[in-house]
Symmetry: C3
């Protein structure tokens, strides 16, 4: 059920963007323990003046390559699961795309389980 | 007060997109019982690699035409109202645009009533 | 930590869009009391049929220039702080860009403090 919005700078390859999305998905079915196949993602490219990440907030050096990941999901995950998700995404982006660890902003938004319809106009998780 | 984000594949007509937005709005003032005129919507087109909907999650067959609808609204709606909204949107899209029932993902995000300003820099719902 | 999504009509200058973002940021570190430098913003332009704001909801006259501001932030702000933020943004847009007071829609989404990673794959606010 997570719906992930991924916002990044324009000009990366389609492969690069797909790999970002793959890594986020793997974190969702891994540390966040969503069922396999639970993949719904919106990936949007922005000109560099459309994506503003402070270059030094909390002493973390960010560049124009900073990727924003915002995931809406059901409530109920533990803090440990959330931490593991953050680490999974940052590590994966570095290992597979060479993205600096600093260049990843992640935010989670939690909702109730009846707040989803995955098709057919039905609230599949409501009961 | 609902703010609806509608994400869909690029290449549909302006009429098609407007009708999607009309149907979502009618569900908001219908089953979700928002006041008439309470219409605030962002409609974004995406290349097919910018919108990823699993083609089989929960056994529901989705295509590239899958539309994502994310509605931020005040808390307080019942599960029955939410279910009726989901059904309204999926039925409307099928009846008026021929969209398959399976090709609709809907997510609701709930907030407090003081979290809105509809203009003039005032929190119109705060009291 | 606030992540702000700013959606507006296409065709304004880069300076205009930057000033909108500056005003939102100043409201975040001002009335909402986020730390200085806490600036993460996504600014998206839309064709006029991609941004629908009712022209008269609650008796407020809106035009095609209406700007949507959606801010995801930690829970815990008071109603007074939220009201001051709304006023700051609407006043700033009018004073610095000549935008009508009516043409600003603002929505806040609140999350838990452990729901953020600002880089390095760490939940900086978790403890």
């Amino acid at each position: 059920m997570p719906l992930a919005r991924i916002d990044l700078i324009t000009g990366k390859s389609a492969d690069y963007r797909r790999t970002v999305a793959d890594i986020v998905y793997e974190g969702i079915i891994g540390p966040l323990k969503a069922p396999e196949g639970d993949r719904f993602q919106v990936i949007t490219e922005h000109a560099d003046n459309g994506l503003i990440a402070d270059p030094n907030y909390l002493g973390i050096r960010r560049t124009k390559d900073c990727i924003f990941v915002q995931v809406t999901m059901n409530e109920g995950r533990t803090v440990e699961q959330k931490k593991a998700f953050f680490k999974h995404v940052a590590d994966g982006l570095q290992q597979r795309l060479g993205l600096r660890h600093e260049d990843v902003l992640i935010n989670l938004v939690e909702v109730r389980k009846e707040n989803w319809s995955f098709g057919n106009g039905i609230a599949q998780y409501a009961e």
